[in-house]
């Protein structure tokens, strides 16, 4: 089966147990203001452009069939509006100023790449992690990747926002050893405002994973000024207590990595603030530990 991904990252140490290879799948139904992987939002290939890397060689102008790259007085102009992201400019670009984010691939190709680290998975208890974007945006591809990885004897972890068709989620859960499941903000209106969609499906789907007997790590982005409040921490603890599938909680501090990528994509700039203080995080962690009775870490 074919699908679109934007990266395969080996030697990932913080996306599940052991050493893992993370497959970043393109396309996401949410639009979180602090998104650190904005190139994962659109389900189509996109051109990323970093003007400071451009050496003005003009190769892209010749490569683009639509004439979207022009050079005037040594200045490089790129017109994203008419661009179909065919990638020929990126292919011609030597400096790396232009790059193509997102490419179509299939299950076999992905698994061949992932299996290159099979000996290290075996030594470390690692495996494949499907991330994104939102893996369930391409639910059938995700399920097939999980099933094939399982068939090859490696562990499967899925990092999801929970925005998934419950039947598809159930289907994938049969092949999934671990879920990293986001819980982002508390309150339906807040969720709509900050993440661009209702939270109902996400909350309901935790019960689906309860029923499946899945192992879930609740992953909670901590974004100063947006969700770094006690009510949210209480809600995290409450949800962790409510759901038998949740084994532990991880707090993921906000960072600014997404900002420059949004700029390169020409998309709306993301939420910009200072990363949270270590002391604040540790206080949250401690309160969640005591209120939820489950392990909580800041990885």
């Amino acid at each position: 089966m074919r699908g679109i991904i934007f990266n395969i990252q080996r030697f990932s140490l913080f996306d599940g147990p052991g050493i893992r290879t993370v497959v970043f799948m393109k396309g996401c139904p949410l639009h979180c203001t602090w998104c650190h992987n904005p190139e994962g939002i659109s389900p189509e290939p996109e051109i990323m452009y970093e003007p400071t890397m451009c050496i003005g060689c003009g190769e892209c102008a010749g490569a683009c069939a639509k004439g979207m790259h022009i050079f005037q007085g040594g200045m490089h102009g790129y017109m994203r509006k008419g661009c179909t992201a065919c990638g020929s400019c990126a292919e011609s670009c030597c400096s790396g100023a232009l790059s193509l984010s997102g490419y179509y691939t299939d299950t076999e190709q992905v698994l061949d790449e992932v299996m290159k680290d099979a000996p290290v998975f075996a030594e470390s208890g690692g495996g494949i992690t499907l991330s994104g974007g939102e893996p369930f945006y391409q639910a059938d591809f995700t399920t097939e990747l999980a099933a094939s990885a399982k068939a090859r004897g490696i562990s499967v972890c899925i990092e999801t926002s929970g925005m998934a068709d419950p039947r598809k989620l159930s289907e994938a859960a049969a092949y999934t050893d671990f879920f990293y499941y986001d819980y982002k903000v508390t309150g339906e209106e807040e969720h709509k405002r900050l993440c661009g969609a209702s939270q109902k499906t996400i909350l309901d789907n935790l019960s689906v994973l309860d029923d499946n007997g899945s192992r879930v790590t609740l992953t909670c982005p901590i974004v100063p000024g947006l969700n770094d409040c006690k009510e949210h921490m209480r809600a995290i603890s409450h949800i962790a207590r409510m759901h038998s599938c949740i084994r532990d909680i991880q707090l993921k501090p906000y960072h600014r990595l997404g900002l420059s990528k949004a700029k390169k994509l020409g998309t709306e700039p993301g939420y910009d603030t200072e990363p949270p203080e270590v002391e604040t995080l540790e206080a949250f962690r401690d309160s969640i530990r005591s209120c939820s009775g489950k392990p909580c870490e800041i990885p």
Binding site: S12, I55, C94, G96, A122, P253, L257, P275
Partner: protein, 766 residues
């Protein structure tokens, strides 16, 4: 671990003495200088025991002069016993170190500075002290190439042939089994069997002189300790002196029975061997350790072991090897393995240097301890794979039992301890220079008027990549032959000079054959050739194949113009070469298979030649500064590298080119024919301290290392990134693609981060 009070005091004293001696690799780490023993600079020449010995005994054979000079140099050193120490003996101060390493007696030319003898006499004395000099190599080079071509080749800096001083590990096991008197008996026995003529008789006599010298030296120490004991008022220290006196007197002749005696004897030979390399200490001392634990000893077993490790630490031995396999293939880890690592951990310094041998049945606790040391910021121990090294040694003709007993020595070389002279190394060869010759039709790079290599054709005339590769191979074959010939000439100098004579009676094979250590005496005499420029050459060839021949994105004329101009005016082409062609180190088969092909071509070629000592030349790659040195003398290359930039670090990828994570980089390296590189092939792996900071992360690191060890890797050295590296990475991101840092909840290459994010990471260090 906690040292005993006595050892803690010894440690403090060493730390005080070490301060003025930053560079211990110089092996001049003696607590005494000439001035401190009342010798002024002018006296130094007159005091030199080597010159004096040759001068006073002009009729003795060279090897007898030499043996006597060595003994004299040791006996003229003041006997120094520090308070609290348990085993004794210091390195010689500088004024007696006119040692006979490789090229005859170092400093022999100082006879010309002595105004008491006339020019003719000085000339005669010099000839006697240096029967063979470097001219022996130069003359051969000129004979092979002619003066102008040889000069151009030297200026081009393609290789350094003829070797370094040459590390080996003496046979500590046999010494411990026999004691010094036993070694004398062995010498007599073989002299009886083998005395063929004056030369062999002289050699055996020289061995006796050395062994007796060691006995006498130990007796001097015993006498001094007794004298100190008599006058000492502190009861405890008085006892220490008395114990030292008894210990030294005993091992001056007898074979050791206790661990305390064993470590004093080992230290004596190590010192006389100029603290070269220690071999598998946890193996040859283990029997003594067990006995000491069971039956007790004058000092505790921990103190004995700590004492000798401290001596090695202070005096800068090059390597201690731990664990690995026993002769029968089972795991060799024992209590001493752990004890020595814990001592290393408590010392926490750049020395002593240790290497841990690992195999698929190594206990997990051992690797856990190794990783704990790394996580504390140490770069020792290095780890090395029995699974790769042992089959590789067997392939070059080493007996399987001996192969399982291999040791790491020098910086990262490999040999069979106590029975080898592998040249260590015979030379360093920069294959990137060969590639330059292939591009330039065999013309010298320092003087393009000189046709130094074969005329293999202009690059612009090649129609296919295979034609070009053939040109590269022809250049490589041509210069490998010259290189190996010159390496052997260098070895002939060593042989003629009886280099490292002290090792002769203590290396298996020498007494049995009646041949010196540097002239084929040892059992194993294969040669070792260090390889520089692998990543640069293979990435360049991949780029040429892909971008010039396959895709024709760069014309051959443009490529030549670009590299000849050091890319000035060709930035687009440089970036294309850099970014549009895969690089070794990313588990990319296109790039990796080229590296495999290049390394096979070179290492198969050197294996066609035999070292003059006997045995094939074998590959190695563990460059210290050579990657930088040879880089300075290498022009721009089609991997996008500017003229003069470093040539990559040992067997690893071009600095910063491995962008796919550590596991991909290790996979690339595992594809290389590392079994052919049993001279010692190192990979440097950089991890941040953060990545080793928790038990869970250390477990992940352990999994990566184990996988590398059992799946075809050879040696790995881990460096944990420090702040300076990160700062340099900001200025030179292209050199630091291997720095992995954490941000938020995941790991990322430091150089991929924005300046702000980098600053953020760096701010965590303060």
């Amino acid at each position: 671990m906690n040292f005993t009070d006595r050892m803690e005091r010894v440690k403090e004293d060493i730390l005080t003495r070490l301060k003025p001696y930053a560079l211990r690799e110089d092996t001049h780490t003696c607590p005494l200088d000439a001035a401190s023993v009342g010798i002024c600079a002018d006296d130094v020449i007159k005091k030199d025991p080597f010159t004096n010995e040759f001068r006073e005994n002009p009729d003795a054979p060279y090897v007898i002069n030499l043996a006597n000079a060595i003994v004299r140099s040791w006996k003229e050193v003041p006997v120094v016993i520090f308070r609290n120490e348990a085993i004794v003996g210091i390195t010689r101060p500088e004024y007696t170190v006119h040692e006979h390493f490789s090229w005859g007696i170092q400093g022999a030319e100082s006879v010309f500075d002595d105004h008491d003898i006339n020019r003719d006499e000085a000339e005669k004395l010099f000839r006697r002290m240096s029967p063979f000099t470097w001219d022996h190599v130069t003359n051969e080079g000129i004979r092979l190439l002619g003066e102008r071509r040889y000069e151009a080749l030297c200026n081009d800096n393609m290789f350094s042939a003829g070797g370094y001083q040459g590390h080996t590990v003496p046979d500590y096991g046999t010494l411990l089994c026999n004691g010094l008197d036993g070694m004398l008996k062995l010498t007599d026995k073989w002299a009886g069997v083998n005395a063929r003529g004056n030369d062999t008789c002289d050699l055996y006599e020289a061995c006796r002189i050395i062994i007796r010298g060691m006995s006498e030296w130990l007796t001097m120490y015993a006498a001094e300790a007794e004298r100190l004991a008599a006058s000492e008022t502190d009861a405890v220290q008085k006892r220490f002196y008395a114990e030292i006196a008894e210990n030294c007197a005993y091992v001056a002749h007898n074979k050791p029975k206790t661990l305390y005696q064993a470590v004093q004897l080992v230290w004596t030979l190590s010192l006389w061997d100029w603290v070269d390399c220690m071999g598998r200490m946890d193996q040859y001392l283990y029997g003594f350790y067990e006995r000491a634990v069971r039956d007790g000893d004058v000092i505790s077993p921990e103190e004995s072991i700590t004492s000798i490790i401290f001596k090695i630490w202070e005096n800068g031995s090059h390597n201690v090897t731990l664990s690995g396999m026993l002769e029968n293939g089972s795991d060799a880890t024992n209590e001493l393995t752990y004890l020595m690592l814990q001592i290393l951990r408590s010392i926490h310094d750049t020395h002593p240097r240790m290497t841990v041998r690992l195999h698929k049945n190594s206990p997990p606790e051992l690797l856990d301890l190794v990783i704990s040391l790394w996580s504390e910021g140490m770069s020792d121990p290095t780890v090395v794979s029995d699974e790769t090294v042992i089959p590789g040694l067997i392939k070059i003709g080493v007996d399987p039992k001996d192969a399982r007993n291999y040791t790491v020595l020098g910086c990262q070389e490999i040999e069979i301890p106590g029975m080898s002279n592998t040249g260590c190394e015979d030379g360093i060869f920069n294959i990137a220079k060969v590639l330059e010759y292939a591009f330039h039709n065999g013309k010298s790079t320092s003087d393009p008027d000189v046709q130094v290599g074969p005329a293999t054709g202009e690059f612009t005339d090649f129609k296919t990549f295979d034609e070009f590769y053939t040109a590269f191979r022809i250049q490589l074959e041509y210069f490998t032959k010259i290189f190996c010939t010159l390496c052997n000439k260098g070895q002939e100098i060593r042989a003629a000079n009886f280099a490292k004579l002290v090792k002769t009676p203590f290396t298996a094979g020498c007494l049995e054959k009646g041949m010196p250590h540097d002239a084929g005496g040892p059992v194993y005499n294969y040669g070792v050739v260090e390889t520089a420029g692998l990543a640069a050459v293979s990435d360049s060839l991949t780029a040429v194949k892909k971008l010039v021949f396959d895709e024709q994105r760069i014309s051959s004329e443009t490529l030549m113009a670009a590299i000849d101009a050091d890319f000035d005016g060709y930035e687009k082409e440089r970036l294309m070469l850099l970014n549009k062609s895969p690089k070794f180190g990313n588990d990319d088969d296109e790039a990796d298979s080229m590296a495999v092909k290049v390394l096979n071509t070179f290492w198969d070629e050197i294996a066609k030649y035999r070292s003059v000592r006997g045995g094939v030349f074998t590959g190695a790659c563990s460059l210290l500064y050579s990657g930088i040195y040879y880089g300075k003398h290498t022009g721009a290359l089609p991997d996008g590298r500017f003229k003069g930039e470093p040539l990559g670090n040992s067997i690893g990828p071009r600095p910063g080119a491995d962008k796919s994570g550590v596991t991909a980089m290790l996979n690339s390296v595992q594809k290389l024919p590392l079994q052919k590189g049993v001279g010692g092939t190192t990979l440097n792996v950089v991890l941040t301290t953060k990545m080793l900071s928790t038990p869970a992360l250390r477990k992940k690191t352990a999994a990566v290392i184990r996988s590398y060890i059992v799946n075809g890797g050879q040696m790995a050295q881990i460096t944990t990134a420090n702040l300076e590296d990160l700062a340099d990475a900001q200025c030179h991101p292209e050199r630091h693609g291997d720095l992995i840092v954490r941000i938020g909840g995941f790991s990322i290459q430091f150089v991929q981060l924005d300046k702000e994010a980098q600053d953020e990471i760096m701010s965590r260090y303060s």
